[in-house]
């Protein structure tokens, strides 16, 4: 059954990708891209990557679709020019590179082969020892937050930097009380009722994903994205200006920075208590307890930063759209 689902889903991925090349209506392309990410997430579930699927679910179908749509609302809907000349040169380059890569795959270990080199070295150590060393069931969470904690600190910093970059490029506007994005979907009563019911559910679910991440699929990254998606839904249905009254950009800026700081402080705390940077063993009275506390705090930091950055990016885009509406009016 794994193979059947695998083959069909890969075929669907290929169809969507080829269709994206052919199409010139950018809205349709964004729509297809969200289908593409739905397919790839079911593919991840099929191949046991539950944490990755959870992330892709929240990111691909939610946030990145919304951001691309925001960009389209500020630019234009169609790709206006055909490719410059007959695309022979690009086709040639692509064919040659592809042929070389396919030649390279011939030496690769076959799909799902338990003897493949990748399964022989680092991973068995994690699988065997993380239960006793870290003491939480989700191996992915224990590698993410503890074994490779330094790496994750870097990733969180990258997300934070990207948030800052969008903030500098698009900026928020000074007198934001006067701005509103005009006709919101507020007039649609069915949507309003359902939206009002869904937003708290999503926030609750984000908390569940955050704090259940040690036991099942989930963790800071996923929870942050789901929480941001809840506010984005609120903002789409009730209007951007109302959403900003609930969570102001100033608070968002502070949250963005404080998550990364919390993460780094946990590392420094380990140093002060006599361990290495990001060594959680010394945080508690016994090593597994310290690991538990450390992972909890670190995931919390990641969750806060990711949620704030995603929401701040969305607000920046929405503010630009609103300003363009004002100018057009």
């Amino acid at each position: 059954m794994v193979n059947l689902i695998d083959i069909v889903l890969m075929g669907l991925l290929l169809i969507t990708a080829f269709a994206v090349v052919r199409m010139r209506d950018l809205f349709a392309i964004v729509m297809l891209f969200s289908i593409y990410s739905l397919v790839s997430a079911s593919f991840f579930v099929n191949l046991d990557a539950v944490d990755v699927a959870l992330t892709e679910a929240a990111v691909g179908a939610g946030i990145s679709t919304v951001l691309m749509l925001g960009t389209l609302a500020m630019t234009r809907r169609y790709e206006e020019r055909r490719p410059r000349h007959a695309p022979l040169l690009p086709l040639f380059i692509v064919a040659v590179t592809g042929a070389a890569l396919i030649y390279g795959t011939l030496d690769m270990p076959h799909f799902a082969d338990p003897q493949a080199p990748i399964h022989q070295h680092v991973a068995p150590r994690y699988i065997e020892q993380s239960g006793t060393e870290i003491g939480i069931p989700n191996i992915v969470a224990s590698i993410l937050a503890s074994y490779r904690g330094f790496d994750t600190l870097g990733e969180t910093a990258v997300v934070f930097t990207a948030g800052l970059g969008v903030l500098t490029l698009l900026g928020r506007f000074g007198r934001r009380e006067e701005l509103s994005d005009g006709r919101s979907m507020y007039h649609d009563m069915i949507l309003r009722v359902i939206g009002k019911a869904l937003v708290p559910l999503m926030l609750l679910f984000a908390l569940y994903v955050q704090f259940h991440g040690e036991l099942g699929p989930g963790g800071g990254f996923q929870a942050g994205v789901v929480a941001a998606a809840a506010f984005i839904l609120y903002s789409i249905v009730f209007g951007w200006d109302r959403a900003q009254k609930i969570i102001s950009p100033f608070v968002l800026n502070i949250m963005m920075a404080s998550g990364v700081t919390l993460y780094a402080l946990v590392g420094v705390g380990g140093m002060l208590l006599g361990g290495e940077f990001l060594n959680y063993n010394v945080l508690g009275s016994y090593p597994a307890g310290g690991q538990h506390l450390g992972i909890f705090l670190v995931e919390l930091g990641v969750g806060i930063t990711v949620a704030a950055v995603m929401l701040s990016i969305y607000f920046d885009f929405a503010a630009r759209v609103a300003v363009r509406k004002m100018e057009a009016r």
């Binding site: 689902i5 169809i15 679910a57 939610g62 749509l69 679910f205 839904l233």
Partner: protein, 90 residues
């Protein structure tokens, strides 16, 4: 039993993708995308039932929540840009 249901859902997904590719209007594509999202939720639910793990259902739950946002956002921003185009034309 599960295999038959999975195969049925995969067929539905394929038909929905084809509809999303051939269009013709944007609304058809959104409709196909919406249907595809619902079927993804069902597929993941079936996969987790086969594996017998309750924690995999969480992913289906996220989908059920997020898919709605996708559809609403497309409609919202599409209305925006058609408004703008009408203004530019008049």
């Amino acid at each position: 039993m599960y295999i038959a249901a999975t195969a049925a859902i995969l067929i539905v997904m394929t038909l929905a993708v084809i509809r999303a590719v051939i269009g013709p209007t944007l609304y058809d594509r959104i409709l196909a995308g919406n249907m595809f999202g619902t079927k993804t939720v069902l597929l993941i639910a079936i996969m987790s039932a086969v594996a017998g793990r309750a924690d995999m259902v969480d992913i289906a739950l996220v989908y059920a929540l997020i898919n709605f946002i996708g559809t609403i956002a497309v409609l919202r921003y599409f209305e925006y840009s058609t408004e703008e185009q009408e203004k530019a034309e008049s």
